[in-house]
Every structure is written in structure tokens, then in C-alpha cells.
């Protein structure tokens, strides 16, 4: 049995092939990946400093998966994600200022501080939410896909989950439903090799997650999740199929999180060498940068400018979030239901 993520050490093949992707589109991917990288680079320390309450599941390292899939999603398509979700939200077009304020728990956040990091959502942007229950978002995306199918709309949904979620029953209920009903759904597994601190090879039987999915009779592919062009190609193929009534596609993207499961973890379950290898040889941002440079589309100045723009946008979001007011405590029992339920506040 091949271990799922043991591609560590296979340095050859680090270059990515942009193929015939137009340069402006590839440059747009870089902008989006840099926005995610800068957003996460700011959010992590803010969480560790206590300015952002609760946990923080950083998506640094996962940028190419979200941007590759996001590159084929239209504004009125839907995406839903698990607990690690900022990259998916930003790739779906969510406003980083609304996100940052929500992370801070502020009144100006996307859900006025009720969702936070783990339940970030912007239904207007087609981002149907982060989720503290792994794999649950796939079900929400599935329902949205069924709605789209009923209405005969060419819209599609993407449900993200991780290798941990791939060991839960609910995910496979969803995959079966999507396949049985030929729904316009991309099921995207971000396999980063670890469910919290448990290595996938210690927890998962079988050849691969994609091989599991293939048993449900839908196209199931495994791609290099640190290669945005490879993810894009797989997602584009799935999107064409989904939009034309051909049903769902399963994409297992092999990726790696540079930071811990949670930002504050001790990180004794993997070696510094392993992390550093992925950072040096498989950083999705740097691989795209190198491909653009090789094409002659980008130089160091251009890259620094793009990174600077992303950094400025995030800094603006942080300042606005810091300055924004907290929710009014008098509203704490409000908003639980659409109809009045006479909430008790205790005796």
C-alpha cells in the first residue's frame, strides 16, 4: 500500500506546467493566492495574541487547492468548507474586510460576529460556510446542487473537506447521493496528510481517498494540490461535466499545511525537516511564481508589488476590524430563529 502523502523527497517535478492558461488568468491566481497567504499571515499572530478569539486553522500551504477550484466557480456558484476555510472563502470572492471583522467577532463582520472563524459564511458571495463538523459542508453544497439541478440552472457547487472527514460516514452518504442523483457537485478533498495530529497512514485503509470515491461510480482523480494549474485542470473538467448535466466529480488534492492544525499547537507529530521540505520545495505560491517567471510574465519587482497589494488590503481589513464595535450584549438572545420563540435568558 502506498502511503498517502509520502511524496516528501520527490524533488524532481517541482516545476508546474501552466499549459495554455492565459497569462492574465494565471496572474489573477497569484493575486488571489497572495491575498490568502497575507490574510493568514496576519490572522495567525492576531489569534495567538488573543485579538481574534477562539481557534485558528490556518490555510497557509493550501492556497492552490482553493484558488484552483475557485478558478472555475462563478459568482453565483456555491462553495462550502470545513474548519480550515479562509482560503476557500477568499477564493470564492468573499470580502477580506468582512471576513477579518467576523474573525474579530465584531458587529461589522459578515455575520455580525455570530459566526467567527469556524462558522464564517457569506451567502451572497456563494460561500455557504465554514463548519466545525468535518465533512458537513459537503452536505450543504450537495443540497444547493440539488436545488440547482431542480431549477435547471447551469450553476454548480463545490464541497470541501479533508482527509480526516474522509473517515466519516456522512461524507460518503453525500458522495453516494451526489453520484446517484447526477448532481452538479465538485467534491474536493484537501488531503494534507494529518487529521489534527494523526497521520493519515495510521488512520486510513485503502490505496487513496480518490480510490474510495471511485467506488461510487463518479470520476475521481488525485492531483498535486500544490500545483494550482493541476487543480484548475481537474476542476475545470469537473465543472464542464457538472454544468452539462454529467454529474459530480471527486478531486483528491494532495496538499500540506505549513502551520499546525491549530495555530497554537506544539507540533510534535511531524519533524521540522518535513515541514521545511514542503515550504522549500512545494510552496504553491512560489511554484506559481516560478512558472510565471519562466514564462517571462513576472519578475521579482512584479511579484513584490503583487504581494504588497495583498498585504495592504489585509492591513486595511485588520485596521477596520480593530476599530469596529463589538456586538451589543443586549442582542445576545436575538437571531436564533426567524420567528419569535420567546428565548429564556435564565431564571
Amino acid at each position: 500500500m502506498r502511503a498517502h502523502t509520502d511524496i516528501t523527497g520527490t524533488v524532481p517535478g517541482a516545476a508546474i506546467d501552466l499549459g495554455d492558461v492565459p497569462s492574465p488568468e494565471a496572474a489573477g491566481w497569484l493575486d488571489r493566492m497572495l491575498l490568502i497567504r497575507e490574510f493568514e499571515s496576519a490572522a495567525g499572530p492576531l489569534a495567538q495574541a488573543g485579538a481574534i478569539p477562539g481557534g485558528m486553522h490556518s490555510a497557509i500551504g493550501h492556497e492552490a487547492v482553493a484558488v484552483g477550484v475557485g478558478s472555475v466557480l462563478r459568482p453565483d456558484d456555491v462553495a462550502a468548507a470545513p474548519h480550515r476555510s479562509h482560503h476557500v472563502a477568499l477564493a470564492k470572492g468573499m470580502d477580506p474586510a468582512l471576513m477579518m471583522a467576523e474573525l474579530f467577532g465584531k458587529r461589522t463582520g459578515s455575520s455580525a460576529g455570530r459566526g467567527g472563524h469556524m462558522h464564517l459564511a457569506d451567502f451572497g458571495a456563494g460561500f455557504f460556510g465554514s463548519n466545525g463538523i468535518v465533512g458537513a459542508g459537503v452536505g450543504l453544497a450537495l443540497g444547493a446542487a440539488l436545488a440547482q439541478s431542480y431549477r435547471g440552472e447551469p450553476r454548480i457547487s463545490a464541497g470541501f473537506f479533508g482527509d480526516g472527514g474522509a473517515n466519516t460516514g456522512r461524507v460518503w452518504e453525500f458522495v453516494n447521493l451526489a453520484a446517484a442523483w447526477h448532481l452538479p457537485l465538485l467534491v474536493v478533498c484537501e488531503n494534507n496528510g494529518y487529521a489534527v495530529e494523526t497521520r493519515i497512514r495510521d488512520a486510513m485503509a485503502g490505496e487513496s481517498i480518490a480510490a474510495r470515491a471511485a467506488g461510487f461510480g463518479l470520476p475521481a482523480v488525485q492531483v498535486d494540490g500544490q500545483d494550482v494549474a493541476a487543480v484548475h485542470r481537474a476542476a475545470a473538467q469537473g465543472a464542464v461535466l457538472a454544468r452539462s448535466g454529467g454529474g459530480p466529480t471527486f478531486i483528491e488534492a494532495l496538499t500540506y499545511r505549513h502551520l499546525g492544525h491549530d495555530i497554537g499547537e506544539r507540533g510534535q507529530y511531524r519533524t521540522a525537516d518535513e515541514v521545511s521540505w514542503w515550504e522549500r520545495h512545494r510552496d504553491p505560491v512560489q511554484r506559481l511564481r516560478a512558472a510565471l517567471v519562466a514564462r517571462g510574465d513576472l519578475d521579482d519587482d512584479g511579484y513584490e508589488q503583487a504581494a504588497g497589494r495583498a498585504r495592504a488590503r489585509v492591513a486595511e481589513a485588520v485596521s477596520a476590524a480593530e476599530a469596529a464595535p463589538l456586538p451589543d450584549p443586549a442582542t445576545v438572545t436575538g437571531g436564533v430563529t426567524a420567528t419569535e420563540l420567546r428565548i429564556r435568558t435564565g431564571s
Binding site: 455575520s111 455580525a112 460576529g113 455570530r114 459566526g115 462558522h119 459564511a121 457569506d122 451567502f123 451572497g124 455557504f128 460556510g129 463548519n131 466545525g132 463538523i133 458537513a136 459537503v138 452536505g139 450543504l140 453544497a141 450537495l142 443540497g143 444547493a144 446542487a145 440539488l146 436545488a147 440547482q148 431542480y150 457547487s157 460516514g169 456522512r170 452518504e173 453525500f174 453516494n176 447521493l177 446517484a180 437571531g335 436564533v336 430563529t337 426567524a338 420567528t339 420563540l341 420567546r342 428565548i343 431564571s347
Partner: protein
Amino acid sequence: MTVLTLSKALNAGLRKALEDDPRVLVMGEDVGKLGGVFRVTDGLQKDFGEDRVVDTPLAESGIIGTAIGLALRGYRPVCEIQFDGFVFPAFDQIVSQLAKMRLRSLGQVTMPVTIRIPCGGGIGAVEHHSESPEALFAHTAGLRVVACANSTDAYAMIQQSIRCDDPVIFFEPKRRYWDKAEVDPAANLGAALPLDRARIVLDGTDVTLLCYGPMVRTCVESAVAARAEGRSVEVIDLRSLSPLDMETINGSVRRTGRCVVAHEAAVTGGLGAEIAARITEECFYQLESPVLRVGGFSTPYPPSRLEDHYLPDLDRVLDAVDRTFAV
């Protein structure tokens, strides 16, 4: 007016809801071609098509997950859970997702999902097919929990639930599916008792007997028997288990000064505990005796040959009524 069994009344209510609103969908295991194991959805797929009355795989978590996504896109799904015990595979989706979507998004979305659950025992089935899990849902903020007890209410309440913009857990007393009562399909739904209101089924002056779902008939029979012995028992069908109609409950208890709560579910941590606490908090100085509870034992639901011992019957209800006078 027409006389219908509770099962047929629910069928008529679902049919009306499907006719009235194209966003309404019925989904669940065997709800289409079979018409549901209790025939509640009989004939609906034939008349409304496979897209509106959907036979799902056997996958409760998948059914509720799908329903939430449908609701997010503007549909009003009505999910059938085939038997009460089968709701537990969907429990995660209900309490972790369905109940919390509204607050989590602070009003960006509504969750008009109705989950129908045949509940309770008394049909010779076993555990997983005879359970009363209502307290678990009443404990969960963000859900409405209701229980119908007769055909008349069933017809109106299922339509009210489907029209409600919040998720409703809709309990159907399975041993009463075949009980008959009058239903008026021409009646205006707006004139029906609101979904969150309790109904005084039988007026009385000596003691208030609170019940819901399958226990309503048992309690009415108990009250009739008590009357022969000179006790005037007021029977209230709670109908709404969350929120509780404390106005109606307190009004009655303040008049009678005595109260018994009866349900099939285990007494320990059951809804009766919450109701007794609320009455004690709000009517303490009008009470003549402690609020008593009658319910199932704190055991898994027993095999069918023992279920008559488990289910609260007329004798156990009347014994509790008598004990409220013993102080």
C-alpha cells in the same frame, strides 16, 4: 368536514402544502413509490412527481444535509425520518447545522425545514422503532418542536410547520395513526390555533393534566374515568413542546393548584422535568402539591411483550392524579 385517520389527515395536509407552494418538497426513505411505511405520503409522488416527492437512499445524515442546502437555496423541504430511532444518524446534522444556521449567519438565511418523525411505542415494535426523543430536540435552541395528537390538529399543524421559517421537528404519534377525527379541508389555516399554542382538550377544576402526542388520548380517557370518581381533571394537549405555551399552562395550574405531566419518554431528564421546573418557578404560591410526572422508565424501550408495562396507562396517570391530593 370529513372524517380521516391521523395518517390520512397528515397526507391531506402534505398534499395541500405541495399544492399551495411549489417550493415545498417531500423527501425521505420510501416516501415515494411505497408512500411511507405508515402511508403518510401515499399517492403524493404519483401526483406531484419524483422531483417533489423524493425517494432518498437510506442515509438520514445525507437527507438532512441535503435539506439544509435546499433550504439555503429557497426550498421548503419536508423530511420523513422513517422511525424515531433513525433520527440519531441525522442528529448531528440537525443540532450542529440545521438549528444553528440562523444565528450563525445572523439572519442571512431562514431554515424552513420540517422533519417528520413517527414517535412513541405501542405498536409491538422494538427499540429504535418505539422511542420518544423529543426532549433532546426541545433542549436544542433554534428548533421548534411540536407533537400532534389527532387528525384535526395534524392537518393544520403540518401545514403551519411547513410554512414556518424556522426548522420544525414534527412528532407524529405512531400508535394513533389509525385514530379518526373530523378534518375540514376548506377551513382557513389562519383561523387554526397557532402552532405554538396549547389546547385545553377537557375543562376541569381540580387538577391540570398536561400531555402531548400519543398520551393525549390516554389522558382524556383517564380524565373521564376520574370524573366518575368525582375528580374534575383539566386535560391540556401541549402541541408545542418548544417553545412551551406557559400562558395556557400557568393559567390552568393557577386555577387548579395541582398538576401532573404525562409522557411516554423516560421521566429522567424528560420534558416533564422542564415543565415541572417552570411551573414551580412561575406558580409556586398557587400550588397545593408538588407537580408530579408520569412517564416511561429509565430503560431502553422494552421488547414488545413488555411494552404495556412500560407505557404509562390510565392506572398510572390516575395514580399520579390521586397523589396530588395526598399532600
